[in-house]
């Protein structure tokens, strides 16, 4: 896990956690808010280095579990499983195209949030898995994707060069 010795990545994660704890509440609409962790994970998988995305998701999930008050571990496992899915997508799809990255972000958000709700329901610690929860999953994913539309190009321009992504040789 040599990539974790990348100081710029650690700094980016630190800023991201800071951002996630403060900014989403300003954009909150009827308790629905965008998830910047999901945007970052999708960005990392599609634009930086897809191989380490599960570890990044695990760390971010663990941090969210420490900040949040839901059942400990649920955020970690749902982010990690979601990251496996996004890694699966990024392995098979054209990672450079936004028309691929943006719908993938939406699907990844749906999968992560559905994992959370399913695990919470199965372990009997969360809300009932009803239509309201399904709508919530859909709205959060949609809202996150809308923010992702603006955030992904910004991250690519300003954050990607700092993270030292791999250059692939074609010939």
């Amino acid at each position: 896990m040599h990539f974790l010795s990348n100081r710029r990545l650690i700094f980016a994660l630190f800023v991201l956690v800071w951002f996630e704890c403060s900014v989403p509440s300003f954009f909150q609409f009827r308790t629905i808010k965008p998830d910047f962790f999901l945007i970052f994970i999708a960005f990392y998988a599609f634009k930086v280095e897809r191989k380490n995305v599960v570890v990044i998701a695990f760390i971010l999930g663990l941090i969210k579990d420490l900040f949040a008050n839901s059942f400990f571990g649920l955020e970690t496992i749902s982010y990690s499983l979601g990251a496996m899915f996004v890694k699966f997508l990024s392995d098979r799809l054209d990672r450079d195209k936004y028309v691929v990255a943006v719908p993938s972000l939406f699907t990844f958000s749906l999968v992560s949030l559905a994992c959370y709700a399913a695990f919470a329901f199965a372990s009997g610690v969360g809300q009932v898995f009803d239509l309201g929860v399904l709508w919530r999953i859909f709205y959060v994913s949609l809202y996150t994707t809308v923010f992702g539309l603006a955030a992904l190009p910004v991250l690519e321009k300003w954050v990607k060069p700092g993270l030292g992504s791999k250059q692939y040789e074609l010939f």
Binding site: M1, C21, R30, T31, V54, F71, G73, T76
Partner: protein, 270 residues
């Protein structure tokens, strides 16, 4: 690296992913302590960030409201003259009120103490509704300290660190408050739903609750003081078992825009 190769072993991977869940299930007290430690350690950063965000927010709000302010200034000057006349009248009423109070030997409510606090972080989860405030055990904030906003009831503290505390909001689906209808005096239980609305349950079928009635805390639970406004009745419905009715209550407090709060705790606490 070798670790990545080991990740490919599914059992090891599942075990690693499930490890936090296992910790959450087997050692909840450890999780509470870890979360508190994490909040306490990050509180100075969160407080600094909140100050920046607050400055930006207020500056933007001032710029946006500049044309409005000019118009308001004219109106307020006109109102000022009228209010000066009323002030003299109020002074008289105040003196009369003080005299009557002393006659009736009414005591000021001194069983509670209050402390101003600021919200420094909001819950990042999509499923729970918590906040972190910048006051903790060192300032007298403890578990079950009640949080109040200028508009009404906010929630209560669930765990307190040295200089910060985590509090559950009224709209969290695990939140419960005994409440009373200010108009009909019907008592019920206010429950958080995880949505911007609250649900008032355990109401008798004969309850004379109406849309628009004000709901406040009843003081029956022993934690929340009596008479703190909670919200206004938005809708009334019948329970699924047809045994009673419930009311959907719109809270007075803007939970997504919480900044300054008041911590209220019993004087006998801590």
């Amino acid at each position: 690296m070798k670790l990545r190769a080991r990740f490919k072993q599914p059992f090891l991977l599942v075990g690693l992913l499930a490890l936090p869940l296992l910790i959450g299930a087997t050692a909840p007290s450890f999780v509470v302590e870890a979360r508190l430690l994490f909040t306490t350690a990050s509180a100075p950063f969160l407080e600094f960030q909140e100050k920046i965000a607050s400055t930006v927010r207020h500056t933007l709000a001032e710029i946006v409201s500049w044309p409005k302010l000019k118009l308001e200034n004219h109106m307020l000057r006109a109102e000022l003259g009228e209010l000066k006349n009323q002030l003299t009248q109020i002074d008289e009423t105040k003196k009369e009120n003080a005299r009557l109070k002393s006659l009736l030997a009414l005591k000021e409510n001194s069983t509670y103490r209050s402390l101003a606090a600021r919200t420094i972080a909001h819950d990042p989860s999509h499923w729970t509704q918590y906040i972190v405030i910048n006051k903790g055990a060192a300032q007298g904030v403890s578990r079950d300290t009640v949080l109040v906003h200028s508009e009404g009831l906010v929630g209560k503290v669930v765990s307190a660190g040295t200089n910060s505390a985590r509090a559950i909001l009224l709209i969290d689906h695990e939140s419960r408050v005994s409440a009373i209808n200010e108009v009909s005096r019907d008592v019920g239980l206010i429950e958080g739903t995880g949505t911007p609305y609250l649900k008032m349950t355990y109401l008798d079928k004969s309850a004379k609750i109406q849309v628009g009635d004000t709901i406040s805390s009843s003081g029956l639970g022993g934690i929340y003081p009596k008479g703190i406004p909670i919200g206004q009745v938005h809708m009334i419905g019948e329970d699924e078992d047809h045994e009673g009715i419930y009311a959907v209550v719109k809270p007075f407090v803007p939970f997504s825009k919480l900044e300054e709060l008041l911590c209220i705790s019993s004087r006998t606490d801590g």
